[in-house]
């Protein structure tokens, strides 16, 4: 999911530049035209944050697949498939030395990925905060964006995994306990996001600043007021049902809440981006944002790309790590607890 989402996300800035064939200008490459990126701009940090994130996520994903790819190779009937899986599994034989290095590599990559999740969303929040428009320039943005990302991410995982476990009969692997734990994380991160809304609203007042105060009133009662109230309904009110065990343990209700949260997170971006830009400091530059068909096409297109990539993955590669499941079996515990332990870490 991460990799497919990054692939989709990466398309936006590139398309946004207007001349996507010149995207490489973003990179600080040696050149004779004295074109060099502005290193103090978070937009440039974005280039590095996103590409690092994509690289490490891809590596983490691929390394995690290696033992399973070897299993697929061993079981493949079709010689072409056997050859492809054989190349991808990098000569994995399951030797003790392989496992030893493998576990170290997984641990290191997991350690690297965690701060990267923070850095990538933090840099996105810097993109906004460096613009001094009211509604964008708030110091709480970094943690608030990171929490929002985890919130939306878990909602999306639930949206995908709840139907999947029914269709593919994975109830024994993706158990209710997993779903309940994800629900708790959603509730916690959702509350952090709502804390962010509360702080933004309070500080718009507390700043005593005309423009900040106008931003808040405009958000609530301006031309896009509906979006703000829907946002609060989706991201604040709806997930409060997760306080109750009945909703946390019911896949149906979790699915519904996750859908609502996904809509809410879309609305959040809409509120932040559109309301602040539509009514900034100068009334002469005020306007109303009306999405063109290209806006819709880009959005629908990336959703299509995401879903296609995801389905291709589900079709050709194991959606649940086979070797991790093996190590969780009771027999694995009897023969050697080490495997199970390492699997748990990876």
């Amino acid at each position: 999911m991460t990799i497919f989402a990054v692939a989709c996300a990466g398309m936006y800035p590139i398309l946004h530049m207007g001349r996507p064939w010149l995207a490489y200008w973003l990179l600080p490459y040696p050149n004779t035209m004295s074109l060099f990126p502005q290193f103090r701009s978070p937009l440039l940090w974005d280039v590095f944050a996103v590409s690092t994130y994509a690289t490490v996520s891809a590596l983490f994903w691929f390394v995690g697949l290696i033992p399973d790819l070897a299993t697929l190779r061993d079981r493949a009937q079709n010689p072409v498939a056997r050859m492809i899986f054989g190349m991808l599994s990098l000569g994995w034989r399951g030797a003790a030395s392989h496992w030893h290095r493998y576990e170290t590599a997984c641990l290191l990559l997991a350690g690297l990925s965690t701060p990267l999740v923070l850095s990538v969303h933090t840099v996105v929040s810097f993109d906004f905060t460096i613009g001094i428009i009211p509604g964008w320039h708030a110091t709480i943005f970094p943690p608030y964006f990171v929490a929002g990302a985890i919130y939306a991410g878990f909602a999306m995982v639930l949206i995908i995994s709840i139907p999947l476990r029914v269709v593919c009969r994975l109830e024994d692997f993706i158990t209710e306990k997993h779903l309940t734990n994800m629900a708790s994380i959603m509730l916690a991160t959702g509350l952090i996001v709502c804390f962010g809304y509360a702080m933004e609203a309070f500080f718009a007042y507390y700043s005593g600043n005309l423009y900040e105060r106008f931003m808040l009133v405009n958000r609530m009662f301006g031309q896009y007021g509906w979006a703000y109230w829907c946002l609060l309904l989706c991201n604040f009110l709806a997930p409060q049902v997760l306080w109750f065990k009945k909703f946390r343990t019911s896949p149906f209700w979790l699915f519904v809440v996750s859908l609502i949260v996904s809509v809410g997170m879309w609305l959040e971006r809409f509120v932040i981006i559109v309301t602040s830009l539509a009514n900034d400091f100068l009334p002469s530059s005020w306007g109303q944002y009306i999405p063109t068909r290209w806006d819709f096409a880009t959005f629908l297109g990336t959703i299509g790309l995401f879903v296609s990539l995801l389905f291709l993955f589900l079709r050709f590669l194991p959606m649940i790590s086979m070797y991790e499941m093996r190590s969780l079996l009771p027999a694995a515990k009897v023969n050697g607890g080490k495997g199970a332990h390492g699997g748990g870490h990876a």
């Binding site: 810097f126 460096i130 110091t139 700043s207």
Partner: protein, 398 residues
């Protein structure tokens, strides 16, 4: 070790600590007497220093409450062994409310927004929030909430001292801890705005509440590590029960808190620096000139870089005495950080350190530590009947 075996162990705080309590009282008394002299010499400075010391110890008491509720929610072996230490910390909040009286009485001397002669357009615009009656009412609500939470949590947990299973009680505590933590976070954020941020009433930063939150968690966690370390020395019963894996977990958590603190601080600095708006940047301009910058640099080095590097290697985390030293360093730096946040508000044009800045934290600390030790002695150091205690004590022993 089964719950019945545990019940036979002597799980009280060491006898010798009663002596330390008396010492703390003497130190607190002497320092308070000095502060009383200071009050007649320089009333303004008395309040400024008192605020510094009070904020430090308030952070400690509140951090204990926050960590305790967090622990009830998440569980984990690290917290089973420090629950009672945190609980003792929460039972000092009433004393902190009393020690805050000078601030509440002296609000008109301490805070610019409460002085009519300093009123301007911006301050008038926010007078609906920053006015003396509302300020005092809010403080009463905060302390009411904190003391209420403390009372309930402490009342219910007494039944966990008997070696039998109390699922109903544990469920009750957990049910309170969730909403309690939400209210706690909100109240702490607003308390930070009231007591520290409003010293410079024109300045604002939306992350400030979160920064204060992580600061007090950092303070309470470091302090608790130190207390646990001394409780496990010299063959005391806790030393048999608490092993190096518990310290390892606590050290990892400390590492995480240090990183979160650095993350928030850096984010705030970078955003304000890059925005460079006059109403925001002044806070940093003051704090990064006239000698105040050395405090900022020392925070970067001793509250982030040194603990970060020392807590990174796994083997260092198992070294309890090293973790103790790092925790001690962080506690000192917490005070430096508070000084750096508050003092430049009063002396923007020159570095100024007063003798009362050293005495006030000691005065309040003396009273606080003695109350903490008194509270610690009133209950066993472990909740013998808490479910999962056995597993928690076997931590790392498989």
């Amino acid at each position: 070790m089964s719950p019945t075996d545990l019940a036979r162990l002597d799980l009280r705080a060491p006898e010798a600590w009663a002596q330390s309590r008396r010492k703390a009282l003497v130190v607190g008394g002497v320092a308070t007497a000095l502060m009383a002299v200071g009050f007649f010499l320089n009333r303004e400075q008395f309040l400024r220093s008192w605020l510094l010391g009070w904020m430090f110890w308030v952070g400690l008491g509140l951090g204990c409450l926050g960590l305790l509720m967090l622990q009830y929610l998440t569980g984990g072996a690290w917290g089973m062994v420090i629950r009672r230490l945190l609980e003792a910390g929460t039972r000092t909040i009433w004393l902190l409310a009393v020690l805050g009286l000078p601030i509440f009485i002296g609000v008109k001397v301490l805070y610019v927004w409460a002085q009519p002669e300093h009123m301007d357009e911006v301050l008038r615009a926010k007078a609906g929030y920053l006015n003396v009656p509302f300020f005092l009412a809010r403080a009463a609500v905060y302390f009411g909430l904190w003391i209420g939470l403390t009372t309930l949590l402490n009342k219910w947990s007494t039944s966990l001292d008997e070696p039998s299973v109390h699922y109903a009680v544990e469920k009750k505590i957990k049910t309170l801890a969730g909403p309690g933590l939400c209210l706690f976070i909100l109240s702490v954020a607003f308390a930070a705005i009231d007591w520290v941020m409003s010293l410079e009433p024109h300045w604002f930063s939306t992350i400030f509440g979160l920064m204060w939150l992580i600061s007090l968690v950092l303070t309470a966690h470091s302090f608790t590590i130190a207390v646990l370390y001394f409780l496990t020395q010299r063959g005391r019963p806790m030393g048999v029960l608490v092993n190096k894996h518990h310290f390892h977990d606590l050290a990892k958590l400390l590492f995480a808190f240090v990183m979160v603190w650095a993350y928030f601080s850096f984010s705030q600095y970078l955003i304000i620096w890059s925005g460079n708006l006059p109403e925001e940047i002044t806070w940093y301009v003051t704090r990064l000139s006239h000698g105040w910058e050395w405090f900022g640099v020392s925070l970067l080095v001793f509250q982030f870089a040194v603990p970060f590097l020392l807590l990174m290697p796994r083997s260092f985390n198992f070294n309890a005495s090293l973790v103790l030293k790092i925790a001690g360093l962080i506690l000192v730096m917490r005070l430096v950080d508070l000084f750096w946040m508050t003092a430049p508000a009063f002396h923007p044009k020159a570095l100024s350190i007063h003798w009362m800045d050293f005495v006030a934290p000691v005065a309040i600390g003396g009273w606080w530590v003695s109350e903490y030790l008194r509270q610690l002695a009133t209950r066993p150091l472990l909740m013998v009947g808490a479910s999962g205690l056995e597993e928690a004590l076997q931590h790392g022993g498989h």
